[in-house]
């Protein structure tokens, strides 16, 4: 079986690089933590890898807006490399701060064609509460999405840990377009509501929606389904013992061979299996 090579970015305040590298290894990938500057200086090449992960953290302290400065470094210094990576059909994930970076570089949601143009079309801004918070949310996945990362997922619990997670777009048409394209990959949902909330665009009350995101958006993907970003942290529920209901016997079980597996691991397995299927 081919072992996909995963580049996990770090440096400048990214801080979920260790666990993000670990979860890819658990599902059969080979992770390398790579400092962004190693790609910019040419010491390492993005093209050496099959998957790129931009983990959570506080790149540049979130000053001037979360993900902005990191996004600029990538937009201005790594543009061609990123373009080639996407063109060769390799998946990218941005989690939390990584999602903010991908939105600020313009890779998410991206243009309507499949040619990244590095133009910012959306933003992630301060939570309506004005507070950074760490709390668990329930996510509902869009079954009609072509996103390779979320294949087969329906609903999972995982933590959000952010102060700037409110997804906004400048006008109603852009949002409608995003929805029509099935690029709204994952949304916050009321766990008491058994129905998929994909038709409910009304912003859920705090804390069901922790930030007041438009249309309860928690994560989106680009037109190709290869680039995916989300504010919540699926890597933080790689094991059932990390679920807050674990001591109550209520942590959702996994359907895989790993007995203690948590619900978040499938996202990373999807990308690893996707690469394996192309080899």
């Amino acid at each position: 079986m081919y072992i996909p090579k995963v580049a996990v970015l770090f440096g400048f305040g990214i801080n979920c690089d260790h666990e993000t590298a670990a979860v890819f290894e658990m599902v059969g990938g080979e992770s390398t933590r790579v400092h962004l500057n190693s790609f910019i200086s040419g010491e390492d090449e993005l093209s050496n890898y099959d998957i790129l992960a931009v983990p959570g953290g506080f790149s540049f302290g979130d000053h001037l807006g979360s993900g902005r400065l990191m996004g600029n470094r990538m937009r201005f210094s790594l543009r061609d490399e990123l373009l080639n990576f996407i063109k060769s059909g390799k998946p990218i994930i941005g989690i939390c701060n990584g999602f903010q970076v991908l939105v600020k570089t313009g890779l998410l949601p991206g243009p309507d064609n499949n040619e990244p143009d590095f133009i910012q079309r959306a933003s992630l801004t301060l939570n309506d509460s004005g507070r950074y918070e760490d709390r668990w949310v329930t996510l509902d996945f869009n079954k009609d999405s072509n996103c390779i990362w979320t294949k087969g997922l329906t609903r999972i619990d995982c933590p959000v840990r952010h102060g700037e997670g409110k997804y906004v777009m400048p006008d109603a048409e852009s949002l409608a377009n995003l929805a029509n394209n099935n690029q709204i990959t994952v949304r916050y949902v009321d766990p008491q509501n058994p129905q998929s909330d994909n038709n409910n665009d009304e912003v859920l009350p705090f804390p069901l929606s922790p930030n007041g995101s438009m249309m309860n958006i928690a994560g989106i993907s680009d037109k190709t389904g290869l680039v995916f970003g989300l504010m919540p942290h699926p890597e933080a529920i790689y094991a059932q013992w990390l679920h807050p209901d674990f001591s109550r016997g209520g942590a959702p079980a996994s359907t895989t061979d790993i007995q203690w597996e948590g619900q978040g691991l499938q996202i990373f397995r999807n990308a690893v299996e996707y690469i394996q299927s192309t080899h």
Partner: protein, 1008 residues
């Protein structure tokens, strides 16, 4: 060079809002009951560079503003811009930093500016500000006062426009904070052949915090003919110190660095028993000796006391370390910056342990004045609610941005912390037992000839005299240079780089730059090789012009001192370049026996290592114990226990801290198993933090703490014992392996040296003696080694009759092994039908209880006196802890909660809140005492557990021989009912408990 102004302000429209403005509006409402109709904000940048206004304007939306959500404007202000702000505000306040104060957004903006304008002059700099526009201002609100709630004049500037000036568009614009030039002074020579009065005068005016004996010891040093000869051959003034030397000695000999009170010889008198004793160093006698004795019995105590934190072996592959520090004085003057430097500072202690450990968890414990304090505030200090907000924000930003989860802590309130808040910050570290090159990571390996690098931030005027300043009491004139703001991102980059350097085998020795700056960090490391030579001219500065002594002692943040073998220098520098971390070779280790400091070619300090580290004379002090007098606490004949319960739950010391704690990232690193809040709605209190830091491996670590300052009012010895027992109880509740636990003792005391300004010094020192005697007794009984600790001994404000002294306070932190995190218990009640038991026994101990304080404050009782909880038989308790821990670790018990403030009643209420479920309890048989003592008393050694019917017999078998009393059962109701035999005491809805518990400290003002 010229200044370009760029401003950004949020766009309005459906779904968009000015969140920063909303937060200010909500806080004014929550803290001061003032309702504004709206508050808007503008973020401003003042760019000092050679890039033209037009070029900057063309790229403003690439950097300074987010075009999706913000408007931007270049070279103008939005103030008066009718398109954006159609209405005239009632008042406008702009807040920016004073010159030279760390401006983190400005630093980040400059970094982004260089990405876009790589050709801009290297001297470019950016300063930031925020402008608040107030609309619908309530009548009689003073704009000056409004401004004062938004900034701290020690570090910030504020520009205010109000009333008519707003109408006429006459805005007061904030300008670029030009740094005044620093004047470089060549080292002065200080004549010490002067009178004793003059010696003291030098110490006081120079903020040296040295007493007469110490000044005389220095005087003697320079009289020694051998020393004079040595100095002559080194080419430095022979018979007197340079200012560099005197400052260096003052920092190294400060109470903060040398712990002179803990090292002193104490003549102790106990007026209660008639005992007379001499204690030669409390530290060596009561802390170090017991730990060293225990080191003989176990093989996992790798490094104790001598390094930046204590290290224990966790398993064959990994070791863990922990350290806790206080940052009280800086937090009093600037709560935000003081607390932030506290947390990022203790992170560096972990990074500086052995050859470098990775910080993986933070703890924080705060002691404040009452958040709703109505009385006077001492000059130069802040209202407790503002201290709480500022300290919390500083710790939140410091921890969250560093990517270190905050997994455990506490907040304690008492009027006396008005004079000085206590800000304890702790960090747990993880390191591989062996590095790839085979060296054991907990052992430093420096040799003469190694090159010493300063890594991370630069040295500035900020942070001069922190160590000596914290060794004095606070006054109105306390200096602003002792206050700093941390820069977590610069530090995070440094941590990433240093851990890579460690794994590449490039580090031979490492320590952090904290109190005393380079003089302490290089000075301490030079003890290993017996000498060093520093060139201060090689130290990178934030601004030119600092004098040699200032460079040597400045405590500017985010710096580590790292030594590297000459052959590894190139690789080390290359790694620094990759991570964009500044690393400058500033010194080398020698074996000359001399702490040798040069500025370029000239020698500015030449101190024997031995004199520097061991020259400080031992203090001799007197202590005298007599029992403090209090009116006894007698509860009323009859009472409504339902009301007592809801009142206790609402007491700040007991009330939920969730709204504050949830703002800390407690889950980064994907390891936190028992989180700070647990239960159905994840809002019940956790007893301790549990983490599984090796991904995929369920082996865990437990981190807990204990603190009980109220008991000091009766006996500081009982206070110390209670703190230790609480930390251990908390850890047992989640299932720690009691045979592998280690502790940290952090003492915060009022000045215990008798003097004119401290007439009761003998008593305060006796309190310290009693606390340490109990610490030794309990730690020996619990096989609990103290592996690291710290003391802060001058926690007083002012002098004379208005002096405020804190209650003597020991924070005891604990870290220990958890064999399998899947068998962790939590405090929330789980299933109807589970049996509830009390492990331990209630005694008649209501003295200094939360109940006694509450009833005394409300006039229902005469005083708080009486029996304070004591640990008469700790060995017996410990064996019951071991049995219970075994029951949890075998999966038999899933629910456990310790009884502390508010006793059994409050503990049961908290368990019901966590489970959102009822329980039926009978406290008959839980102790041979009054109902009051059994229901509300705080006797130590008590834990409530719940066990399923299926595991009941197995639990009882495991607890054979230990005091275990059936309390009742979890019920499928929402009602907590407590009886004492035939007497009904409590019958209350769980939702009412939730409301009382959660209301008091939620000062967020909601989300709307």
């Amino acid at each position: 060079m010229h200044i370009t102004r760029v401003e950004a302000t949020p766009k309005s429209g459906p779904g968009l809002r000015d969140v920063r403005g909303d937060v200010v509006r909500r806080q004014l409402s929550a803290d001061h009951n003032l309702d504004f109709s709206s508050v808007k904000t503008i973020v401003g940048f003042l760019i000092n560079s050679d890039v033209s206004h037009e070029e900057i304007a063309a790229r403003a939306d690439d950097l300074f503003a987010d075009p999706i959500i913000e408007h931007s404007i270049t070279n103008h202000s939005f103030l008066g811009n009718r398109e954006i702000f159609s209405e005239t505000p009632d008042a406008v306040v702009s807040v920016g930093f004073k010159p030279g104060v760390t401006d983190n957004p400005g630093k980040a903006a400059l970094d982004g500016f260089r990405t876009i304008f790589p050709e801009a002059t290297p001297e470019s700099d950016i300063s930031t500000y925020i402008t608040y526009l107030f609309y619908g201002m309530p009548q009689n609100t003073s704009t000056e006062w409004l401004s004062s709630t938004l900034y701290n004049n020690l570090i910030q500037r504020s520009f205010v426009t109000e009333g008519e000036m707003c109408n006429s568009g006459n805005w007061l614009m904030i300008d670029y904070p030009e740094k005044p030039p620093q004047e470089f002074k060549t080292p002065a020579h200080i004549n010490l052949e002067i009178s004793n009065e003059q010696l003291i005068d030098i110490s006081e005016t120079g903020l040296l915090a040295l007493n007469l004996t110490e000044m005389q010891a220095i005087q003697q040093h320079y009289r020694n003919p051998e020393i004079r000869q040595l100095r002559q051959s080194a080419g430095i003034v022979e018979d007197k110190p340079t200012d560099v030397e005197l400052e260096c000695l003052a920092q190294t000999w400060s109470e903060h660095c040398k712990h002179k009170i803990f090292a002193s010889k104490i003549h102790h008198t106990d007026l209660e028993t008639g005992e007379q004793a001499v204690i030669d160093s409390i530290f060596k006698t009561h802390i170090m000796k017991p730990t060293h004795d225990m080191q003989n019995d176990v093989d996992w105590l790798l490094s104790v006391f001598h390094d930046n934190s204590g290290v224990i072996a966790w398993d064959d592959e990994w070791s863990v370390c922990m350290k806790a520090e206080t940052h009280n004085s800086p937090s009093a003057l600037d709560p935000y910056g003081g607390a932030m430097t506290g947390i990022v500072g203790v992170n560096r202690d972990i990074l500086g342990t052995g050859l470098g450990a990775r910080p993986i968890a933070n703890t924080d414990v705060f002691c404040f004045g009452p958040p709703d304090w109505q009385g006077e505030i001492p000059d130069n200090l802040f209202h407790p609610s503002r201290v709480l907000r500022g300290v919390h924000a500083g710790v939140r930003v410091g921890g969250n941005e560093s990517g270190i989860p905050t997994i455990n802590g506490a907040i304690v309130f008492d009027e006396r912390y008005l004079g000085k808040p206590l800000v304890y910050c702790g960090t747990v570290g993880l390191m591989p037992r062996k590095l790839p090159d085979g060296r054991e990571s907990h052992i430093k390996t420096p040799s003469a000839g190694d090159v010493v690098f300063m890594v991370g931030g630069r040295v500035g005027y900020d942070g001069i005299h922190g160590a000596t300043f914290s060794s004095l009491e606070l006054t109105e004139e306390s200096p602003s240079s002792a206050v700093q703001i941390g820069d977590p991102i610069t530090q995070k980059k440094m941590i990433d780089m240093i851990l890579e350097a460690r794994d590449l085998g490039l580090i031979s020795c490492i320590t952090d730059n904290g109190a005393g700056g380079l003089s302490s960090s290089i000075g301490e490391m030079a003890e290993y090789t017996n000498g060093c030579r520093i060139d201060l001219a090689k130290v990178p500065l934030k601004q030119p012009g600092l004098s040699p002594w200032e460079i040597l002692v400045s405590e500017s943040q985010e710096r580590m001192t790292v030594s590297v073998k000459p052959e590894d220098v190139a690789a080390f520098e290359k790694l620094a370049l990759l991570h964009e971390v500044e690393a400058s070779p500033v010194a080398e280790f020698t074996s000359t026996g001399i702490f040798h400091v040069q500025y370029e070619q000239s020698t500015v300090a030449y101190l024997p290592i031995e004199f520097l580290h061991d020259g400080v004379p031992q203090l001799e002090l007197e202590s005298e114990w007599k029992i403090p007098e209090h009116k006894p606490f007698n509860p009323p004949q009859t009472a409504d226990h339902n009301t007592i319960l809801t009142d206790l739950l609402a007491r700040p010391n007991i009330a939920s801290k969730e709204s504050w704690v949830r703002q800390y990232d407690h889950e980064v690193i994907a390891q936190t198993v028992v989180k700070p809040f647990v239960g159905v709605k994840r809002d019940g209190p956790a007893d301790a933090g549990v983490i599984a830091p090796i991904h995929g491996n369920p082996r865990g670590l437990v981190v807990s703490c204990g603190i009980a300052p109220r008991y000091s009012d009766i006996d500081a010895g009982a206070m110390a014992a209670a703190a230790i027992d609480e930390a251990v109880r908390n850890a047992v509740c989640v299932g720690v392996d009691v045979d592998k636990i280690a502790g940290l003792d952090n003492f915060c005391w009022p000045d215990p040296i008798e003097s004119e300004k401290t007439p009761d010094g003998k008593f305060k020192l006796a309190q310290l003696v009693r606390a340490n005697r109990e610490l030794e007794r309990i730690c020996r009984a619990y096989r609990l080694p103290c592996v690291s600790g710290k003391d802060s001994m001058k926690n007083d404000y002012g002098k004379g009759p208005n002096k405020i002294s804190i209650p003597p306070t020991l924070l005891f932190s604990l870290f220990g092994d958890h064999p399998d995190v899947r068998n962790s218990a939590t405090s929330d009640l789980k299933h109807p039908g589970d049996k509830l038991y009390l492990v331990g026994e209630s005694l008649e101990e209501l003295g200094a209880s939360e109940l006694a304080f509450m009833m005394t404050e409300s006039g229902q009782a005469a005083g708080i006196g009486g029996n304070v909880p004591l640990l008469t038989d700790p060995e017996r308790l410990f064996s019951s802890y071991r049995a219970l821990s075994k029951a949890i670790n075998s999966g038999v018990v899933k629910t456990a909660h310790d009884c502390s403030e508010g006793g059994l009643g409050v503990a049961l209420a908290e368990m019901c809140i966590g489970g959102r479920i009822g329980a039926k309890i009978d406290i008959d048989g839980t102790g041979k005492t009054s109902t009051w003592a059994r229901l509300w008393g705080e006797s130590l050694g008590r834990i409530i557990i719940a066990v399923s019917a299926q595991n009941n017999a197995k639990f009882l078998e495991l607890m054979t021989g230990h005091t275990t009393t059936l309390l009742g059962e979890v019920e499928a109701t929402t009602q907590l009912s407590i009886v004492d035999g035939f007497d009904e005491l409590i019958s209350i809805e769980v939702n009412d408990l939730v409301t009382s518990w959660q209301g008091t400290l939620d000062l967020t003002g909601g989300v709307a």
